[in-house]
């Protein structure tokens, strides 16, 4: 699913402002896993997320997303890959205020060239999946933060991507709503989605099966968590899709 091998990312290489954001990061995430990437700000976790999300390309090393070496793709092809393989969930929801919840959820389907006839039904189904079937015609301004994040998750799910990439999804929510959102991710993972969660919050990270910690551009697996894990610690082996171990 996600294979990072010896990834390095350097910004402004060769200038006095050179920043090494990632150094020799190797990470393998298999289908159906729930992985949290933790780290303080400036640790390189956002850079890592942008790479995993195919928004950026590494300076060194190779990244295979769904078996495709991302470095070989141009901007158009990366956009297509994002549309097909990755659903983004952001801290600030990033809903478009002039559209209804339904339209927000349906928006990515235009880029994936889903036939118009199917869109409404699929968007309604996605809203139902996150428990917001009755809020379809509301605009984001008329929804609570938790509801907005649910709409954003429905949008991330709409093209049925195997990978959900969530960047501090609870960062703008109160703790109770945050727990509900995390429970939703847990459920989605149990339903077969691969979830990669970026957070600085240990409590949030605890929902994951695996925790990886970023520090000064390097990545380290938190094995202790894996041993305590809710799931079989041998989760290094791939889960069969749609069937949690």
């Amino acid at each position: 699913m996600v294979e990072l091998e010896g990834i390095g990312k350097v910004y402004a290489a060769g200038t006095p402002a050179e920043v090494v954001a990632l150094r020799d990061v190797t990470l393998r995430i298999d289908r159906g896993e729930f992985v949290a990437i933790m780290g303080a700000s400036g640790s390189g976790k956002s850079t890592l997320m942008n790479l995993v999300g195919c928004l950026d390309t590494p300076t060194t090393g190779t990244y295979r997303c769904e078996g495709v070496d991302v470095a070989t793709l141009d901007a158009e092809a990366r956009a297509r890959l994002r549309g097909a393989a990755i659903g983004f969930v952001f801290q600030s929801f990033n809903l478009l205020g002039r559209m209804t919840a339904l339209e927000n959820v349906a928006m990515p389907m235009a880029y994936a060239r889903v036939p118009v006839a199917e869109r409404r039904e699929r968007a309604l189904a996605a809203l139902a999946e996150v428990g917001l079937a009755d809020r379809a015609t509301h605009r984001p301004g008329e929804l609570s933060g938790g509801q907005q994040q649910r709409v954003a998750i429905a949008r991330a799910l709409i093209n049925r991507p195997p990978l959900l990439l969530a960047d501090e999804p609870t960062g703008a929510l109160d703790s109770q709503t945050g727990e509900e959102i995390m429970a939703l991710f847990k459920r989605l993972c149990d339903a077969g989605h691969t979830v990669v969660l970026i957070t600085h919050d240990r409590d949030v990270a605890e929902y994951a099966d695996r925790i990886c910690v970023m520090r000064d551009g390097g990545l380290r697996e938190d094995l202790e968590h894996a041993r305590r894990g809710v799931r079989d610690p041998a989760a290094q082996s791939p889960h069969p899709q749609g069937a949690p171990a």
């Binding site: 942008n50 297509r80 549309g83 235009a110 880029y111 994936a112 118009v116």
Partner: protein, 411 residues
């Protein structure tokens, strides 16, 4: 992203800011309306000139008494009675190329019939005046050969005068008074309608030259046999320049004008006048085109400006769209579609307003107007080109955004 999706998204975003969209399109609306009105006027003018050429016949020379210029000030032509009937006879006998020759006197007067009173222009003419000016009669038989010599009190009415004085009654054979003198109506001129700049060409009465001299211009002090103007009809266009030159020499010799002195007459070649007017009309249409083009460019810059604002307002949205699978091309198409819709929508409104404007000018203004559907096609093409040209840069800018930077944007 399919064409329908691009269109839907562009319409949604323009409607979200409809007031701004309308104001932005206003530049193009005005530009396109200006293109249509101005091209229509320019075309109408040149059509009118073509018609004037065929009506006048271009093989004519007009000689008026009075100098062209005097000490830099243009005197009113005909004011000093330098031409007379002997000049006319001398020219006609010396130049066999001259097919028709007529002298004329002019003035304005009241024409009265029964209770009706109409202020009009009179012209005293000879028989050649009719073929040179291509006037024909719609009623009556016109003057008889003897009328010219005998200074008969006969008159031919222009259509406007006939309508004002007689209405539906038959004018031929009736009596009208011109000033105080009673005249018998010998005919009515075939109507010509408005001239190129709105003047009524049918508002005149025609009498024999001798009659005019004796009965109508009596109050004006003038030498015997004086003429205000002489008009020559030349048989072949090729002889026109030669005749023009010869007429000048004959008149200078007769008027004893030495080399270096100003002429006391002026010769106008109608073909030259028409040529000048054609050039003027062409220059006018170029100038109008430039004005219309500039207003279109201003409109286009307005679109570009607003599109740049839109792009920077929506950087985060662009980042989001890229994250959910929009490639640079899809983003570019979306913003280009918005610019195109603005300019095309503005263009369509402008076409409607332009057509209305052209019709208003044509019906109530003094300029001739001819509305051509090709102009509408041209205007549409202009609108599309404006949208494409001025929409491309903002769209390109949006498409080249880095999704990471765009998503990080705070707004």
């Amino acid at each position: 992203m399919s064409f329908a999706d691009i269109l839907r998204s562009a319409i949604a975003s323009l409607r979200g800011n409809w007031m701004r969209s309308l104001l932005t399109a206003l530049g193009v609306i005005i530009g396109i309306a200006a293109v249509i009105v101005m091209v229509s006027v320019a075309q109408g003018t040149s059509t009118e000139i073509d018609r004037a050429i065929s009506r006048l016949g271009s093989n004519r020379l007009d000689i008026s008494s009075g100098a062209e210029r005097r000490g830099g000030v243009r005197g009113s032509a005909g004011a000093d009675w330098s031409l007379d009937e002997r000049d006319l006879a001398a020219i006609a006998s010396a130049l066999p190329e001259v097919q028709y020759a007529t002298g004329a006197l002019r003035g304005s007067t009241q024409v009265i019939h029964a209770e009706n009173n109409w202020s009009s222009q009179w012209q005293g003419v000879t028989a050649d005046w009719f073929p040179i000016n291509a006037w024909t009669l719609s009623q009556g038989t016109g003057f008889e050969e003897g009328d010219y010599g005998a200074a008969a009190k006969v008159v031919i009415l222009g259509e406007t005068v006939r309508r004002e004085l007689f209405g539906d009654a038959d004018p031929v054979g009736a009596t009208v008074r011109i000033g105080r003198v009673p005249f018998t109506v010998a005919g009515v001129l075939t109507p010509r309608g408005q001239g190129g700049f709105g003047q009524d060409q049918d508002d005149l009465v025609v009498v024999p030259l001798a009659t005019a001299r004796r009965r109508l211009s009596g109050s004006v002090a003038m030498p015997p046999g004086a003429l205000q103007s002489i008009t020559l009809g030349v048989g072949r266009a090729a002889d026109l320049a030669y005749v023009e030159e010869q007429v000048g020499e004959i008149l200078r010799a007769r008027h004893r004008i030495r080399a270096g002195e100003d002429d006391d007459f002026s010769v106008r070649n109608i073909a030259e006048v028409v040529g000048t007017r054609t050039q003027t009309a062409r220059l006018m249409s170029v100038l109008l085109g430039v004005v219309a083009g500039i207003s279109l460019i201003v409109g286009g810059i307005g679109i570009m400006n607003i599109m740049l604002v839109t792009v920077s307002e929506r950087i985060r949205e662009i980042g989001l769209r890229m994250a959910v699978g929009a490639g640079p091309r899809a983003i570019e198409h979306q913003f280009l579609a918005e610019a195109m819709l603005l300019s095309l929508g503005g263009g369509l409104i402008g076409i409607v307003l332009g057509i209305i404007g052209a019709l208003v000018v044509g019906n109530f203004g003094t300029l001739p107007v001819s509305l051509d559907w090709k102009v509408v096609g041209l205007a549409t093409a202009c609108a599309v080109a404006t949208g494409l040209f001025f929409g491309y840069y903002p769209a390109r800018k949006a498409a080249r955004l880095d999704p990471i930077e765009a998503l990080r944007q705070q707004n």
